[in-house]
């Protein structure tokens, strides 16, 4: 029994899941109707659906971010800007007329190609030029939004065609919000790809020791490059969802500060930001936790401005609890106490 419990608590997804459960439990106590899901006008409706719906961009971003972090021990801080850039490209191609200027599938492809190119640029700098990931991605972080502004001419562009909202809203006759479906597809496909091929092992081994992996016959440079390109693609997909949600592009605000939430999701999911072993599932749990927390706080009438304060406290508490150093301090303190107690008994 004890053995089983120990196995359970040392599982890498245990603590992230506990955090998520705590947030959900808190909600359940506050409003017992929290878990209720009903069908209104043929679509699913409820707090849980809302949380999942709103967290889908973050989930997609977190999947890409996990790969970058795992392979290069660095973070890609340009994903928010890439979201804006690819969204701007798509909206610009579709045009602001009553109908699409070019077929929508082509426009989305263009947006995704832009995002992959951005990811490849980051990957080139990190993998080939050996620049620290944060600095390398700082370049697009600084320039990305400016370039998106150049595309949109500094205006907010609106799309009139109603079918553009499908991606960020509901497809006809399907009760589940499309962003959730997209997120599920991304997570399932990437998990299958990572686990059914040796890719996960490659990425982890490059993350743990790029030089050793090279000697072992892995092309570290190419693997790091690919993870950044994949991260760019994820950012592009998230950008499509975010743009479609509001059927417009506001280059200043789409994906603003999303990169930080994505990195946070990775860390909350129990992944080390030092690279190496990773779990996509953990990052997904982290992303949902962040969104659940935000929704909870909004429900407690905390304003959007003040939200970061609570988020910060929760984040710091969670990462402190997860920190091995902290656990060591606690264990040492416990050991001291037992020694003292034993000493008293003997006396």
């Amino acid at each position: 029994m004890n053995e089983k419990l120990k196995k359970l608590t040392t599982h890498r997804l245990f603590w992230p899941l506990v955090c998520l459960a705590l947030v959900l439990l808190f909600n359940f106590i506050k409003s017992p109707s929290f878990f209720k899901i009903s069908i209104n006008n043929g679509v699913l409706y409820g707090y849980l659906i809302d949380i999942l719906n709103r967290s889908s961009e973050l989930i997609v971003l977190a999947v890409g971010m996990t790969l970058c972090v795992a392979s290069s021990a660095g973070t890609d801080i340009s994903v928010g800007a890439i979201m804006a850039l690819s969204g701007a490209a798509t909206v610009y191609c579709l045009g602001t007329g009553d109908t699409y200027a070019i077929p929508w599938i082509l426009a989305i492809l263009i947006g995704l190609v832009v995002s992959v190119l951005c990811g490849m640029w980051n990957g080139f700098l990190v993998a080939k030029m050996k620049i620290q990931p944060m600095v390398a991605t700082l370049i697009l972080f600084t320039a990305g939004r400016g370039m998106a502004q150049l595309i949109t001419g500094g205006n907010i562009l609106y799309i009139k065609e109603p079918s553009f909202k499908y991606l960020g809203g509901f497809l006809p006759h399907i009760p589940i919000p499309t962003p959730i479906l997209v997120a599920i597809v991304v997570v399932v496909l990437s998990t299958l790809f990572l686990n059914k091929t040796a890719t996960k092992l490659y990425v982890e081994s490059v993350g743990i020791n790029p030089k050793a992996s090279r000697l072992f016959g892995l092309n570290s440079t190419r693997i790091i490059f690919i993870t950044y390109a994949a991260c760019g693609l994820c950012a592009g997909i998230a950008g499509m969802i975010a743009t479609s949600r509001i059927a417009s592009i506001d280059a200043n605000n789409v994906g603003n500060l999303m990169e930080l939430d994505a990195i946070l999701a990775v860390a909350l999911g129990g992944n080390s930001l030092g690279g190496g072993k990773f779990s996509v599932a953990g990052s997904v749990i982290g992303a949902v936790t962040i969104q659940a927390l935000s929704t909870t706080l909004y429900a407690m009438s905390v304003t959007g401005d003040q939200l970061p304060l609570y988020k910060a406290i929760v984040v710091i508490v969670i990462v402190t609890l997860q920190s091995p150093e902290f656990k060591r301090y606690v264990n040492r303190w416990k050991a001291k106490r037992t020694v003292k107690a034993d000493g008293k008994k003997v006396a």
Binding site: L125, V135, I139, P308
Partner: protein
């Protein structure tokens, strides 16, 4: 061995020289392009310092942190909250200016202490800790007030508007009137901070320890240095400098609002990187960061003088420069490593 050190110094000196040359090139380009609009007047030059005093101080603090191999992305928010606190304490709580200023410095130091403790003693990644700090400070700003508060306090406004005329420089404006250029208190503070930090990093035990810890923590430990306390001190210093930057920022803006100085940390990091500081730690100079900040200023000035380009061009040009510098650093590092390897063979 001596050769090695010499070549290393030569390397970093080279990067610093490129930064300074770039600044001069940009300045002269502006001078040639906008000669008819008084680009060369001493006041335009001094305005670079006036409008970027906060950035210079923040970049110096960031340099310390980057040299230890850490990072601090909270300073933009800290500057925001410091401005808001100053405004709130003086306008809503009617405290004296001196008390309010002292209190925000205390806040900055405590903020740095907490972050430093979490980073150095609990070994949580600096990025995550300061990300938390960033959220915390920004949220705190909104908690204090979601409206803009402008400062009316007389002492503070006197401090903010006190012009220090440099009477030893004389120039003529376009009407031919004799003028003396002026600076504000903020510029004096910024330059003093740069000077003191330069001395600390170059000539004190603490400064040496900062470089040693950033270069290689294990070796620093074996040399008998304590990486934990060194890092803690650096983060405390950085917290103080962030609050000082906030104070200087407030001298310019004379008010506080929630969105103030958003993204400022990235400007500070960009300034440090353009100035030749490596994010991997162990390498960096405050003089470089000073010029990094001035380069951002000169780009802004040129774009203002140009008149038709929109402000987001500043970001694009800075990104391009950043790109140029990191690639230069990368190429330079490879060459140096090769040279060192050759030296080892001999």
């Amino acid at each position: 061995m001596a050769e090695k050190i010499k070549s290393k110094l030569r390397g970093n000196g080279f990067l610093l020289a490129v930064t300074i040359i770039l600044f001069l090139v940009l300045y002269f380009a502006g001078a040639v392009l906008y000669a008819d609009r008084n680009f060369t007047s001493p006041q335009v030059f001094l305005n670079l310092f006036i409008s970027n005093a906060g950035l210079i101080i923040a970049a110096v603090g960031m340099t310390f942190v980057l040299i230890t191999g850490g990072i601090d992305i909270s300073i933009g928010s800290v500057i925001g909250v410091v401005c808001m606190m100053l405004a709130w304490m003086m306008e809503i709580k009617h405290m004296s200016a001196v008390l309010a200023i002292v209190l925000v410095f205390v806040f900055g130091i405590v903020f740095g202490l907490v972050q430093g403790f979490l980073i150095s003693y609990l070994k949580i990644q600096p990025f995550i800790v300061t990300l938390g700090g960033m959220f915390f400070a920004r949220g705190l700003t909104a908690m204090i007030s979601s409206d803009m508060i402008s400062i009316q306090n007389e002492t503070f406004l006197n401090l903010a508007n006190h012009k220090i005329y440099l009477n030893f420089i004389t120039y003529y404006n376009n009407r031919g009137v004799e003028m003396h250029p002026y600076i504000y208190l903020s510029v004096v503070i910024a330059l003093v901070v740069v000077l003191i930090s330069w001395i600390i990093l170059r000539y004190t035990k603490f400064g040496r320890a900062v470089f040693a810890v950033g270069g290689n923590e294990q070796s620093a430990l074996l040399m008998g240095l304590n990486p934990k306390t060194t890092k803690l001190k650096v983060y405390i210093l950085n917290g103080f400098l962030a609050s000082l930057a906030g104070f200087v920022f407030c001298l310019n803006s004379c008010g506080g609002f929630v969105e103030q100085a958003r993204g400022f940390e990235m400007d500070a990091i960009a300034s440090a990187v353009i100035g030749g500081t490596l994010l991997t730690g162990g390498v960096g100079t405050v003089v470089g960061s000073l010029f990094g900040a001035l380069i951002k200023g000169i780009i802004e000035t040129i774009i203002t003088f140009q008149g038709t380009l929109s402000s987001w061009w500043t970001r694009i040009v800075i990104a391009a420069l950043l790109c140029f510098f990191v690639i230069l650093q990368s190429v330079f590092k490879t060459i140096r490593e090769k040279r060192l390897a050759q030296d080892d063979h001999h």
